[in-house]
């Protein structure tokens, strides 16, 4: 933000006692994060399997509803609800 105090080069190991160093995330040294690439796929526990099954069922129902509505609107069923 433009009203923040000006930044300067700071050596963290030479900061006086009882002082604090404020560093913007973009200027800070990179942190070691969790590397998902090395883990591979998520473990298929019972809750994960059930959740994905519920999701597939939900998507199937919604897709059928949308298809039905489009067919209905097109008059293919011989009647229209609109």
């Amino acid at each position: 933000m433009h009203f923040l105090p000006a930044m300067m080069n700071v050596d963290r190991n030479e900061v006086p006692e009882n002082h604090y160093v404020v560093v913007h995330p973009l200027y800070d040294l990179p942190e070691e994060k969790v590397d998902a690439s090395k883990l591979g796929r998520i473990k298929m526990t019972r809750s994960v399997k059930l959740s994905l099954l519920a999701l597939r069922a939900y998507l199937a129902v919604m897709t059928l509803l949308v298809v039905y509505h489009v067919i209905d609107l097109a008059g293919v069923l011989g009647r229209s609800s609109h």
Binding site: P5, M7, N13, N18, P25, A36, I42, S47, H69
Partner: protein, 443 residues
């Protein structure tokens, strides 16, 4: 006393003395305040950008139809939207990667592509509605959309091409804060504060009972307040801003502040719609409402509402376009950062520019099927939101990925599964209503 810090290079070898660009302060409160201000941004932007053109339309319509009787719903949605985005914050900080990348890596190619394609489609259609709102507001301001829409698109492209995340963030935060003008508009229309307090704190069904119109509006409000693109946007934004583990509490505060800000602004939009109801004003869109209220509240309010419509659409466009560009870059493995110049991340910027440019162009086509597009957005978003939240919930319970510290606690899961089940039910009700319109009595 700060601990000695030793920088570790990617090879695991201690690097040179850790010199960083920073500021030394003596007071702890100054340290906390400055750190918060540096972390602040993604939370406010993701929340306030959700008050886009569609949201303005939904909230003023809710106010016009039901007055202030649905304000309690906004208060109920405040913790819901915070819980959802707080999970995104934890996931983003812990992994340093975007949501699309996480789904792709942990759930495989099929689910990864499903999430990506659904996001890109919903986002693109939403962009068209944003530019449609810009065109509408501009025409009421006496500016030709054929001139104004390309200028708006060009501005939205320029703001991300600077190669500086901070420059983009500061611009967008400024635009978010402009929405405080809705507070002024709400006060200007002289609402009844006791009525507002009563309807905010005490849930109730408006006069007329549960009708198809009410159900549709409630689902629209919920769908407007919690949008799929927000999950992808904030996580990618946090990854691009490189927030650190130590920033978690400030990122949560940023998200909470954003949630409160957004709900207050949304309430003000509803109060503005209520003013139209109180004066017997009928309208089809917020621009018409602005023109009609002009006779009651003056030219200033009319101009204010029209300009805020444009602001809402601009905010929505930049956030949604970026969520698409980031997600696509993550899955394709392209460089994807606002910190990079165009020549170093051409695919990322091309995706952004293509989305904005194409959406703007469609709006300028005479007799473009905008109503069909708006309906398509509602249907696709209704399909996508539960799916996006299920993946978020599963990832936040992924102890192998996050460890015990960052994974959900038991109470998190109880709250979140309740929210997910309610969202599933609302989506199914919306779908059922579209297919069987006589499910609920007509209003």
């Amino acid at each position: 006393m700060p601990e000695k810090v030793v920088a570790i290079s990617t090879a695991g070898i201690p690097a040179k003395s850790p010199v960083v660009r920073g500021r030394v302060v003596r007071r702890k409160w100054a340290y906390h305040l400055l750190t918060f201000l540096m972390v602040f941004g993604p939370g406010l932007i993701v929340m306030e950008a959700d008050n886009d053109a569609g949201a303005v339309s939904t909230y003023v319509q809710a106010g016009a139809q039901y007055g202030t009787r649905l304000l309690w719903l906004l208060l109920l949605l405040l913790p819901v939207t915070y819980f959802m985005q707080e999970m995104v914050v934890r996931l983003g900080i812990a992994t340093g990667e975007g949501h699309a990348a996480m789904i792709y890596k942990r759930f495989g190619k099929w689910w990864g592509l499903f999430s990506l394609i659904d996001l890109e489609l919903v986002n693109f259609l939403t962009l068209v509605t944003e530019f449609a709102a810009i065109a509408l507001a501009l025409s009421h301001l006496g500016i030709s959309p054929n001139l104004g829409v390309p200028v708006a698109a060009a501005g939205l492209i320029v703001v991300v091409l600077t190669g500086s995340y901070l420059r983009w963030e500061r611009t967008v935060v400024f635009l978010c804060l402009l929405d405080l003008a809705w507070l002024f508009i709400a006060l200007r229309v002289r609402p009844s504060f006791s009525e507002i307090a009563h309807n905010t704190l005490l849930p109730g069904i408006p006069q007329g009972g549960v009708t198809a119109s009410l159900v549709f509006l409630v689902v629209a409000i919920v769908g407007t307040t919690i949008a799929p693109w927000q999950l992808f946007f904030q996580q990618s934004c946090i990854a691009d801003k490189r927030l650190r583990f130590a920033d978690l509490k400030w990122a949560r505060l940023d998200t909470l502040a954003g949630a409160v800000f957004t709900i207050v602004v949304a309430a003000c939009m509803m109060i503005a719609g209520n003013a139209a109801k109180m004066h017997g004003v009928h309208f089809d869109d917020p621009a018409q409402m602005a023109n009609a209220l002009h006779l009651i509240t003056g030219e200033g309010i009319r101009l204010g509402i029209l300009l805020l419509m444009i602001n809402a659409a601009v905010l929505g466009t930049t956030a949604i376009s970026l969520s698409s560009a980031w997600a696509y870059g993550e899955v394709k493995g392209w460089p994807h950062s606002l910190q990079m110049p165009v020549r170093k991340a051409p695919g990322f910027y091309a995706t952004y520019i293509a989305g904005v440019g194409l959406a703007a162009a469609i709006v300028l086509i005479p007799r473009a099927p905008l109503q069909l597009i708006i309906l398509g957005v509602q249907v696709l978003a209704g399909i996508m939101l539960p799916a996006a939240i299920i993946f978020l919930q599963l990832l936040l319970n992924d102890q192998e990925l996050l460890g015990e510290h960052y994974a959900n606690k038991r109470w998190n899961n109880r709250v979140n599964w309740t929210i997910i089940i309610v969202l599933f039910i609302l989506s199914l009700i919306l779908a059922a209503q579209v297919v069987a319109p006589n499910l609920f009595p007509a209003s």
